[in-house]
Symmetry: C2
Subunit: 210 residues, 2 copies
Amino acid sequence: MNRKGILVVVSGFSGVGKGTLMRSLTERYGYYALSISATTRAPREGEEDGREYFFKTKEEFEQLIEEDRLIEYACYCGNYYGTPRDYVEDQMEQGRDVILEIELQGALKIKEKYPEALLVFVMPPDAQTLASRLRGRGTETEEVIRARLARAVEESAGVEKYDYMIINDDLEESVEEVHRLIDSQHNKISRNLDFVEQIRDEIKTFAKGE
Amino acid sequence: MNRKGILVVVSGFSGVGKGTLMRSLTERYGYYALSISATTRAPREGEEDGREYFFKTKEEFEQLIEEDRLIEYACYCGNYYGTPRDYVEDQMEQGRDVILEIELQGALKIKEKYPEALLVFVMPPDAQTLASRLRGRGTETEEVIRARLARAVEESAGVEKYDYMIINDDLEESVEEVHRLIDSQHNKISRNLDFVEQIRDEIKTFAKGE
């Protein structure tokens, strides 16, 4: 069976826990490759270059764009965010499933360029849970939280174009669910046309008694 | 999440073991509903009406066709085969995933009527295994086996239109693989648009501080 890597794009409402989910997934199953985005936004407390993001200057970022070394990029709140091409394509070529955690607009651009990409949207079990998680961080006022919720809804316009959703209720279960989902995609007929052709030829040979 | 039943159509080369696979699946996971076809062919040794098939006379079968009580039917080797509609639709309405084991032409007709149906093709790991399994039955001459292999290849024209394939190497593994595959289909965004709409509305309400 063809084990060419799958490009998995994960998005979700702010606060839904997709970062934790993806980190748990890649820690548990070592063969996933987690793509790291490049950005021009300033590092936050505790963030490290090459771990959360590749932090770039505006000039460096624009050079990446010019050299076509990003598979998608967008400007968001005055900062650039983008996905470096080399890492994604190298890993897929080696048969590793690559996970990108990006927002919806970028995800839909990726789907245009890579129609076989798997788009997954992480949902909260209900709105109450999402609001509680945002409040639980304790770093924002109630007004900021409401504004983020409102923006999250706006930013989810187009989610119908995603392939699958995962309801992130229990972290352990969600990790297994995402893993099984990605794994099952390797069985798509469209990813295995070479195998189908090969087995048909083999059966023909047997039928002729060769 | 929407748990409306999924219509799962399973096909595969003769001798690939799809019957055993489906029986094991439905025995292990009680919530699958296995659809039983109607046919005008004579029962074979050990077959029971209502277990392997619903055995019908030509007149009875043609009445089912006339009353539109089959979701697909075909004539094959001089006999009718068809899938009774009521059972399939009732079970799906109750949220049970319904499994049909039918040949490729029927499967593609079903996909036209039920675009959300999941089409799965069971493959042998290699041609050698398929030929050995056919020989292993010990009931056929080598010539008959070769003719069946040749026909199997012809009958697989169009398999590219299936959604997924399962390589039936180890029965236990294949059962789990089919189960996980079907299960993951419940997470398709296209099956959960109501949930998506509902959660968006809920979040909007929270954002307004209501």
